[in-house]
Symmetry: C2
Subunit: 238 residues, 2 copies
DNA sequence: ATTACTATTTCCCGAGTAA
DNA sequence: TTTACTCGGGAAATAGTAA
């Protein structure tokens, strides 16, 4: 299946070849090879593009030179601007789900000074001792959770106190219900599934939002494009 | 004439709508309106894109949600990268032509301390007193000369010494014959045509390159993309 | 060698319409 | 309402070939 027109391919090929500051001498069969089409199609498309003012043919003696017109370059430029607006804008990723009660161990772990101090310093707020568990609702949210776990950029190191070892975790800053400063925390040795996410915040979220089990909440993470490109488009490629 | 496929348009439309982090509920007629095509075509293209793995349809109860797959987003990303490489790379503009003798007034003007000192300071070299005249050969070179005259970014101010006034000029840095530091100088009140360009340099070009009238030379100007965008694509648009 | 015409096949689009 | 089928008209692609 061809996603891209021969006409568009040809304009792009000419632009790549620099045909907007200089006229190029290119045979229809050379063009055809580059576009992966027949000589006849290349010829036809050159004629069409010229008739519509996207390119100019300049006949010098026996050879024909080709160059893009400003209209032709503008056309590509417009497409570029559209794609740029897609790929360069920050991306908001939303996880939505329902509150549920865990085993209360969030309180225990966050209270441990080794974790508490790391969060305070690296995440940037003094955490309320406890995590809010969210059961994700949609396939989208679950996929986004997996993506965010990869992207999470704040490592919380594990430690050992001689008796036992405590695993590490990763955090990423987020907004709870679109407004409250918070962070997602992905703990290394979780016993929750991939459809659950844990939130920490500088406030008691259940209190502030009067939350009961089953209430719907959402968490929003804003990613810079560069992060997205490196992850969604490469590591995540199926 | 359609430069852009419906398939490509649809992928772009979905990407613009954010269908890569969330699944969207969009009817085929809504899509058709946005693409400027029929409901039937929108439906057919959705089916094709799904069969080829560019999009996913997720059926939730009665409604169908649509989202881009990574393959679909990659496809757009690749196109974006290609266009980016075209529009973000520095552009080399070449003027070529033949040396000819002017009226020798270049020597007179460059020697005037008011001009000489400005050039030394703003252009960045101590100019050899004189200009090399080049008669441009091709249509491309003449068009590029007009473009460069607009873009030239180093103003040389005119002045008056009480007896007469001396006009201003504009310079832009360049490489003579692709290697020698030089600058093009466009004087305000020139008596040469648009097919002539004057070069100044810190050396005596005729001497260094053993040039005689009629010898072929070229001058290369490297433009940043931003300059190009503002000029070729807007001011110059036909 | 080159470009581009004609003829044939293939593909695309959209009206009509069923489910 | 929705999606997606069939089918006729037309555009696009290419083989053959002229110039």
């Amino acid at each position: 299946m061809n996603l891209i027109n021969l006409k568009e391919k040809l304009l792009i090929f000419l632009a790549q070849s620099g045909a907007y500051t200089k006229s190029l001498n290119m045979s229809t069969s050379t063009i055809a090879q580059h576009l992966g089409t027949s000589q006849q199609s290349a010829s036809r498309i050159l004629i069409q593009l010229e008739q519509n003012g996207y390119i100019e043919k300049i006949i010098v003696g026996k050879t024909t030179l080709i160059r893009l017109t400003n209209k032709g370059l503008d056309e590509l430029k417009n497409l570029y601007i559209v794609l740029k607006s897609i790929f360069e804008k920050p991306v908001e990723i939303i996880l939505e789900g329902r509150v549920f009660s865990g085993l209360g161990e969030g309180f225990y772990y966050i209270s441990l000074p080794q974790y508490f101090e790391q969060i305070k310093e690296k995440v940037g707020f003094t955490p309320y001792p406890g995590t809010l568990n969210i059961q994700l609702l949609s396939k989208d949210s679950i996929e986004n959770r997996m993506l965010l776990e990869k992207i999470a950029d704040i490592p919380i190191d594990g430690f050992s106190n001689g008796q036992r070892t405590y695993g590490g975790a990763k955090c990423i800053r987020a907004l709870f219900n679109g407004e409250q400063e918070a962070a997602l925390i992905f703990v290394e040795r979780t016993h929750y599934g991939r459809d659950v996410v844990e939130v920490i915040a500088p406030v008691y979220l259940r209190g502030k939002y009067n939350l009961r089990d089953g209430d719907k909440v959402f968490v929003k993470v804003t990613l810079k494009t560069s992060t997205l490109n490196n992850n969604i488009l490469t590591a995540e490629a199926k």
